[in-house]
Symmetry: none
Subunit: 210 residues, 4 copies
DNA sequence: CATTAATCGAGACGGTACGTCATGTCTTCCG
DNA sequence: CGGAAGACATGACGTACCGTCTCGATTAATG
């Protein structure tokens, strides 16, 4: 029986020895991990532009169908990456807005920079903000994903307001925006503060709450 | 067989009646205008996703080579669009930081929103920020483009500093960042203030300079 | 900005009702047939100059990637066309070189002229000869393709040599060249003999074997 | 006054020091020479596929308008190249067809091979034969160009016929074809005989005249 | 001598084909 | 059935050439 092959021979046809197989009629967690791993590595090593669904498939040794089954668009894949990195952070309670905000931003910036050796989330977040602008579905998902973190920020600000550290003039929304605007802006222009500079950053933000 | 093109003689299709021709060995400003016009219309009518180089060529009745000669990438085309919208703005001099900043941001936000009926620059600016992150050349061009506007902001802040309205604690760079962070952040999350809300915005920003 | 493609969700145009889909991870013979069909029609209807890869794609409703996967250049496509026309021809055995050569060339010339209503192969062969001169890969493919037919000619000449109809002075290669030179030359100058003239042609070639 | 330059800077804008200028209202022979020289070099160095009008312009430091003014198509350029090489050859008169044909083909093959250090005409001739098939104008010009040489061949064959060396069965046209077919064929398949092998070649051709 | 006219290099112009690449859908075969 | 593999149609990308055009300069012939 004739086996058709593309004109350019000599390429890899199948090194199927060590491919992951199905584990039956349910999702294979190994595959999920491999895909997210591959996506993370691609972004880190070659930038966001290199994050193509095809490259992810190849690197993760996954099929395209598998990818699209679980992450119907690149946006969902990005979101999954960010979600994966979300680990618990307990509510800081230093007694001052300055201390709480410093703790909060210190943690956030560390994740953006990838301080603990894990993948830096900064580039992803930057991309998500822009993608979300054109993509309502992604926007909603992004909002949902941020809910916990934002709740934390809300609690910090509410406590500070109770202590009189936040001007009554400021609405809850605007207060949150004031807290996030400068970090996000610095992320956007690629000028994230170094690990030790968070306190100085907070000192520059704090007056706007007064 | 790459370059084998049989001789075609006299079968020129060229419905050249109404095409723009060259004006010699130098740039034809009409072509430039037509291209930018086409790009602006495409974005406005069908969104940024419709801004393909090919669509621009077609709409502007321009050749691909022409496009790529003057704008080597889509990002540069965007940048040109933004640049074009930047017409002169004179230095505001209201005597207070509040007044100057309000005038400055009022103008900027109006362009981002497209208040005068022209194309809203906001979405373009948002995309440019993300592109610049991965593209050093574009980053340089973007920086260059912003120079004029930033110089204005610098002058506003310097004057304010002379009047004692800017804390000596703040460096020039950080002061600029504090002025721009919230507007940019609001642009990023799609919450640009309405035309009348600029003053309130400035009031929320101002305390951080004190 | 090369690879920045905004997410497009649900705006697939894809009038996929009547498009050929993949039949799995292997070549779809329908696609191959459609492409060769389209190429043949283009050449016949509009001439060789109209045979652009793009036109073939369009007409065959095939993707560019598909085309280039299987036929890495226009020349290879031509070659496939010629190959396809080469159906089996049994070894003529009339007992004389004259008869065998007449049968052989009659068949060959009929295909070059397209006598059976199919596409004339002559113009394609002519182009292939020239392309092969500049393109080693194509040259090899062309040689490979001709092997069957040449084997036939070899057998004819060997048999004739055994009967003493071919001078021992002539090498095998030169004998083949003498048989093919005049037909090819006539093809090149566009003076292919009419269907009934093959015998006369052979009569003019034959003496050189004596 | 603003000077527009393409976005990619740093390229050669004008090294106009040593450019050829017009010599008034008539053709500049230096330009013609430079163009033909450039074309010849391109074919020799990079093959026929590299013979683009643009490459010729660049290499010859000539303007496109100049090129198209004097050689309205690539075919005309090719033809001019061949014509340029046409030098006088006197009618050989060795008293035998064998001697005359050997002299004739020896000269022809030497030019095809470029034995005297000049540009090999073989590749050009090969291309011209194929181009002429699709291009009547070029075909006519090619015929005209070859007239002298063919006249020579005609004379050789007529003299041989008078001596009884050409079978009356052969028409004048067919006789010429028999003389040229094998050399042309060998040219087409890139198997031109070496300088000393012309006599052997003629010996293989001669019997067909008997 | 001044004007005219044709020539020159240069290269921008509108087009079109090229060959590459990513998308998201599909089908097969294996476990 | 899930998963790897990869072919499929689509279409944008950026490059290269085509043949036409306009420029500004140069220079011979003309007035």
């Amino acid at each position: 029986m004739k086996r058709y092959v593309p004109f350019r021979k000599g390429e890899i046809v199948s090194d199927a020895e060590n491919a992951r197989a199905s584990i039956g009629a349910r999702r294979n967690p190994e595959t999920e991990a491999a895909v997210l791993q591959a996506a993370a590595e691609l972004i880190r090593e070659q930038g966001y532009a290199a994050l193509t669904m095809e490259a992810v498939c190849k690197r993760a040794r996954a099929g395209k169908a598998t990818l699209y089954r679980w992450w119907p668009s690149k946006a969902h894949l990005l979101l999954a990456l960010v979600s994966r990195s979300k680990q618990e952070m307990e509510l800081p309670d230093t007694g001052t807005l300055r201390g709480d905000l410093t703790a909060y931003l210190d943690d956030l910036l560390a994740r953006w920079r990838g301080d603990d050796g894990s993948m830096p989330m900064g580039p992803l977040v930057r991309v998500l903000y822009v993608e979300a602008a054109d993509n309502a579905e992604l926007g909603a998902a992004l909002l949902e994903e941020r809910r916990d973190r934002w709740q934390l920020l809300d609690q910090i600000l509410t406590a500070a307001r109770a202590r009189g550290e936040v001007s009554p003039r400021l609405g809850a929304e605007r207060a949150k925006q004031l807290a996030m605007a400068l970090p996000i802006y610095l992320l956007m222009i690629g000028r994230l503060p170094a690990p030790g500079e968070t306190a100085a950053l907070v000192d520059d933000i704090l007056p706007s709450f007064a």
